[in-house]
Symmetry: C2
Subunit: 346 residues, 2 copies
């Protein structure tokens, strides 16, 4: 018997990423949609009215979804699909997601299942979504209290990064994005950390280095997602900081990037204790965060039960992303009990 192999070669490359809203015309000329619509929140439709105008001078329909995690709910998915149907979207239509990661995740999923999949374009408006969630094709919603329980791997037709959106973000939202940028630096590209050393939380939004940082972070992400689209092997390196970070995020309801930052510090301490990471990595990270003026509350600890639920697969081992030194990482098969002991003591 031959196994039912699914070999998917997704062109998840930098060539589908654009760095100005103007490029929407080039993209739509290629997609030739019969119809289009923009999905965004009421807050963003108001704040980013100029962007909507740049995206479409014509009468494009705007579909409103809630802000934040509230968008990623089952009933919102139903409402959005019903809106697609009411708007008469067909197989050759294109949907544009304008918003942060939650809107991107919801819209990407809805577009991927409407008529068994229509095209969608990601226009991420937060730093976190620009460097992380809008790339790699993971889409989905939360379900009955669990994060990203339902979704698909579905690539956007194109992604547009426009750094003009960054000026609308709060310091908290900038710090949120920096968490994932630092992670990219630690696991693969230490030049990211060198650039960050010359910035602060306040300087970054208007820094001439901002676009470079974004591009480098995306490159790190794509280097893994292109090799491992369905998240079965090397892609798990992108989960550095997330095993503990996710559990902290759930417990203290803090933002994703903040939680990843805390997760990185604690996971580095863990792999340090196993002799897999030199202690300078963690010390340098704490220094960098101080320099950036990103506060880290080290009293926040993960609950073991939350880590276990997040793990999603059985067995007594866990595939753990280990950072050996800045810019170098690998997956190590670690005994669950070792991690449990560390979390219990932390």
């Amino acid at each position: 018997m031959k196994a039912n192999k699914t070999l998917c070669l997704y062109n998840d490359s930098m060539s589908n990423i654009f760095y100005s809203l103007n490029s929407i015309n080039t993209i739509l000329a290629k997609a030739k949609p019969s119809k289009g619509c923009i999905v965004t929140s009421a807050t963003l439709a108001d704040k980013l009215a100029w962007a909507i105008k740049e995206i479409s001078s014509a009468d494009i329909e705007i579909i409103i979804v809630p802000d934040g995690e509230q968008a990623k709910e089952w009933n919102e998915l139903e409402k959005l699909l019903a809106a697609f149907s009411r708007s008469g979207l067909d197989r050759t239509s294109t949907v544009i997601a304008l918003g942060g990661g939650t809107i991107g995740d919801l819209v990407g999923f809805a577009a991927s299942i409407y008529l068994r999949g229509i095209r969608y374009i990601q226009i991420p408006t937060t730093l976190l979504a620009q460097v992380d969630s809008s790339h790699g094709g993971k889409t989905g919603i939360n379900f009955h209290g669990y994060k990203n329980q339902v979704g698909v791997f579905g690539m956007p037709f194109a992604t547009i990064i426009d750094i003009r959106f960054i000026r609308y973000l709060s310091a908290e939202q900038i710090a949120d994005g920096i968490g994932e940028i630092i992670k990219a630096g630690l696991i693969k590209d230490k030049s990211i950390l060198s650039i960050l050393k010359k910035e602060t939380l306040a300087s970054l939004p208007s820094s001439p280095q901002l676009l470079t940082l974004i591009k480098k972070s995306i490159k790190v992400k794509l280097s893994y997602t292109e090799k491992d689209f369905k998240d079965a092997s090397v892609r798990q390196l992108l989960n550095a900081g997330h095993t503990i970070g996710h559990a902290i995020e759930l417990k203290y309801k803090i933002s994703h990037g903040r939680a990843v930052t805390l997760g990185l510090i604690q996971e580095l301490a863990f792999t340090e204790s196993l002799g897999l990471t030199g202690s300078s990595v963690r010390i340098n990270l704490v220094k960098l965060l101080e320099h950036l003026r990103i506060k880290t509350d080290t009293t926040m600890k993960a609950d073991w039960s939350a880590i276990m639920h997040d793990k999603k697969v059985g067995g007594s081992k866990i595939l753990f992303p280990v950072i050996m030194k800045e810019g170098k990482s690998k997956i190590v098969d670690i005994d669950l009990n070792t991690l449990k002991e560390f979390v219990g003591k932390a």
Copy 2:
């Protein structure tokens, strides 16, 4: 700019199709699921208790969904996903769909979006599902009154055809399956029609030719779905009889295969009127149906509005599957008005 190409090579081949329930052991030895469950209806769980026993001597969980089209509703999808979650299915779990096309479509879709996709096995119990819907990876549900509006292309890990299920079917259900078998014969493999000529509706369930007919029909289907997984070109030949047939099915609430049979007769009359098909094809088809003792109510007509809604894409042309002679077909770009005129007069 390079287009965002999705090149998917799905191993949608006969090698993943098995012809006895016993093969479940081989399949599960390959899938090595952490957990498994069987999804079926209460009626089938009762009637096919012997099959469930053969599938699993161990304590496998059984999840019950409604019979018929009622299974393909949004709230049933939610209930099924919640059941997966409650059962603690993880990424390495496998779900078994035991039932007709509606259960297969629902379960295939749910499995394809749970945790962004887990493995599922199709065990179709109707002739129609055995020859048609369980192959080719189309999954999905109806949504707000429209058929198959939401879904994905997601291949089953394996499909098991067991002809012992056929004896539980009514004559109506056998006729339903024959509709798609005849279609396969007309578009690609005329030896199917020769075999059918020696059978009747009553003889088929216990005929020694039954398995051959099923295998030949599957082969026709896969010959198109392997070349055109996402239904963008040659796969549309499988829609022969469906343009008019689907509209009749909706209007008169008759079974799918019955409607396809009527659709084939009327579409042959249409392409005959355009000089694309010789009249003997339609005459022979009517004779074959009489011989099989399958009644056809030729007073049933399609509504133009239903055909238009089903078309799903814009423009003044329609890609129409044309049968030139028995076993030969091609896609022809036909003016919509020509078809409209024919439907109006029919």
